[in-house]
């Protein structure tokens, strides 16, 4: 193939290949776990089994995307978990009322976007460290969620629970949709800006990238994803719980880092982050079916995470040598 025949095509695939570099090890580990899981639990291949599995993975995939999006442009959020809780709480207290399911969805979307954008504005324009702003934000958001719903309760219409977390792979379809939307977003100037700002903020600024605006948009979209994950968890459980999201903060960071997303920005891919979250999720089920006692699960979890990060790293060094 000559460069003139299909320049965009070859460049595109060359870039994709380069971006997949270093992730091969992770993909292999994830694939191995999926195979083991499928062997131990053949029901995974049935529609119902696949649906239930993807439902338990879906919220983690969403929050990992929310976290990766921020980490790609050099940010981070410690408020992901509380935002999941808040999204669930808002859904659970609005959907049962006069607002209905659609009104509730709107409320969750607005809550996620506004809180995310506000955080982004503070980080971008006041130039405060994202980690501190979101740490403070996590306390505030947790407080608000507890004020709105002091004890677990509220309700989600049963048809919505059935539609999102029933016997059909709706959650997986939604994940594919979100990934397509991410691809489209990357094709816009703002989307390219996400990487540029994380990689080299000064260079991006000189090239005309609206650095501050990119940061604010990233935080807003990230907030939206986290709040929607909360809506999904509420639908999955049929009600709201003001503290259910807490552990999503750490898991979202773990998923993103496992997926090769760097803390310093500009490094990593969304597909890697998704694979990282899938590993975290499938690992729990595989350890169950292998009959690991809880203490061994703690140890195995640590070993798997370190291994999944270390293997690609060593493979990379070996290739260079």
């Amino acid at each position: 193939m000559t460069p003139s025949a299909s320049p965009s095509g070859s460049l595109y695939f060359a870039i994709q290949r380069r971006r997949n570099r270093g992730l091969g090890g992770l993909y292999l580990v994830v694939a191995a776990f999926l195979v083991v899981y499928g062997v131990l639990f053949p029901g995974l291949l049935s529609v119902g089994g696949f649906s239930k599995f993807s439902q338990n993975w879906f919220p983690l995939a969403l929050v990992t995307m929310a976290q990766a999006l921020l980490m790609l442009n050099g940010g981070i959020s410690l408020a992901i978990g509380p935002l999941v809780s808040l999204g669930g709480v808002v859904a659970a207290i609005t959907m049962g009322g006069p607002a209905g399911a659609f009104g509730g969805l709107l409320a969750v979307v607005v809550a996620g976007l506004v809180i995310g954008a506000l955080t982004g504005l503070i980080v971008a324009y006041m130039r405060l460290p994202a980690i501190i702003v979101t740490l403070a934000g996590s306390f505030i958001i947790t407080g608000v969620a507890l004020l709105l719903l002091p004890r677990p309760g509220g309700s989600i219409p049963d048809w919505l629970s059935q539609a999102l977390a029933g016997q059909q792979p709706t959650a997986f379809a939604l994940l594919v949709l979100v990934l397509c939307a991410w691809k489209l977003f990357l094709a816009t100037p703002l989307g390219i800006g996400v990487y540029a700002v994380g990689d080299n903020p000064v260079g991006a600024f000189r090239s005309g990238v609206p650095v501050e605006r990119v940061r604010v948009v990233s935080f807003a979209v990230s907030g939206l994803l986290a709040a929607l994950a909360g809506l999904f968890v509420a639908a999955q459980t049929g009600s709201g719980d003001p503290v259910i999201g807490t552990s999503f903060t750490l898991n979202s960071i773990a998923g993103a880092v496992l997926g090769g997303v760097g803390f310093l920005g500009g490094k990593g891919t969304m597909r890697g982050a998704i694979a990282g979250s899938l590993l975290l999720s499938v690992m729990i089920n595989v350890m169950f079916f292998l009959g690991f006692p809880p203490v061994a699960q703690y140890v195995a979890q640590g070993v798997i995470i370190v291994g999944a990060v270390a293997i690609p790293e060593f493979a990379g060094r070996w290739r260079k040598a």
Partner: protein, 354 residues
């Protein structure tokens, strides 16, 4: 059914109708006798899963001990084949995933220590629909689509502790109330239970209340500063074991005379109670609720009807019984809970209540 049958004129149809009636009656009576969720299609030996929310605290480890002991006993009797334990590491969403895995693995019984009162409702109902015996103890869920819930009464805990203290003080004196963390349902419920007793005894003056984690150090710290501020404390209404130990140690460090103190069956508190010769009273959340859950699940699977809610009476430790508990202290961890003894007879009695 009889009205429909009388409308049928052909003898053969009548016969068929009668047969159906008898058959459906048989099914109905079977359904009445069996516990919720049980379909009667699962045969011993059974596989049992314990979906724990968090296995690290000492109370949970001891509870796990009673569960594995009970499973060992039932294994010998040929009733249980396997026990699978999961630890959701405090994450209710992980617990959903693990219970789903237990359903996928087609276990016969699932014992649940819930991490959220609502989050597990749907997955538990799913398990119930599949004919799995679901038993929930200690930290309860909202849904009723399960075989049985097992717990003590936290309100009663508070009211009985308060009653004892009021009696000790002859209805007159200044007390401090020590609570667990605010917003935690167990802590709130115990405190609520104490309120009517305190309200009925205006001679008892509540100087102040503390809210701390259920650990010795923060409780001791809180009591130490209270002792500086209040020279006259006549009694301590502590609503959790480690809290009482912290309180007794604070009194001791400052050289203050011990006052009547309530508490829980924490080994540390019981030993201080004896060593410092104080007037004490304690109750407990028995760790064997775990063992009872396994036993209940197996009974239900065998076709026995079990109550939807099994209320376990609070075992009480007072000055007359504490020696018996301390005698077996060496069998329990230093930071653990000395629970009352249990056996199959006790379990059968609890299951017989309605």
């Amino acid at each position: 059914m009889s009205r429909i049958a009388s409308n049928l004129h052909l003898g053969r149809a009548l016969l068929a109708g009668a047969a159906i009636a008898v058959f459906s009656l048989a099914i109905a009576s079977q359904a009445n006798a069996a516990a919720a969720c049980i379909k009667g299609d699962r045969k011993a030996p059974f596989t049992v899963g314990w979906a724990n929310i968090y296995s690290v605290p000492t109370w949970m480890k001891q509870t796990e001990g009673t569960i594995t002991d009970e499973v060992a006993t039932l294994k010998k009797a040929g009733l249980v084949k396997d026990l699978m334990i999961t630890d959701a590491q405090g994450n209710a969403q992980t617990q959903i995933q693990q219970i789903q895995s237990m359903i996928d693995a087609n276990l016969d019984a699932i014992i649940v220590e819930a991490g959220s009162s609502t989050a597990l409702n749907r997955v538990i109902a799913d398990a119930c629909t599949k004919g799995i015996a679901v038993i929930n103890f200690d930290s309860l869920v909202d849904t009723d689509k399960l075989t049985a819930k097992i717990n003590t009464d936290s309100n009663e805990w508070g009211s009985r502790a308060a009653t004892w203290l009021v009696d000790q003080l002859h209805g007159k004196g200044k007390i401090v109330i020590m609570n667990g963390p605010a917003g935690v349902s167990v802590s709130d419920d115990r405190r609520k239970g104490a309120q009517p007793v305190l309200a009925a005894n205006p001679g008892i003056e509540v100087i102040t209340e503390t809210n701390t984690e259920y650990n010795v150090a923060p409780a001791q710290e809180a009591m130490t500063s209270l002792l500086f501020a209040h020279p006259d404390i006549d009694g301590v209404l502590s609503l959790g074991g480690a809290l009482s130990a912290g309180s007794v140690m604070a009194f001791d460090r400052q050289g203050r005379a011990q006052v009547p103190t309530t508490g829980e069956n924490a080994r540390q508190f019981l030993e201080l109670w004896k060593a410092k010769k104080l007037k004490g009273w304690a109750t407990m959340q028995p760790n064997w609720l775990g063992a009872l859950s396994v036993y209940t699940a197996v009974k239900a699977l065998q076709g026995q009807d079990v109550p939807a809610f099994i209320k376990v009476p609070l075992p009480v430790i007072d000055d007359s019984t504490i020696d018996g508990y301390l005698a077996k202290a060496k069998d329990f961890p230093a930071d653990g809970y000395i629970y009352s003894s249990y056996d199959q007879a006790l379990f059968d009695k609890l299951l017989a209540q309605h």
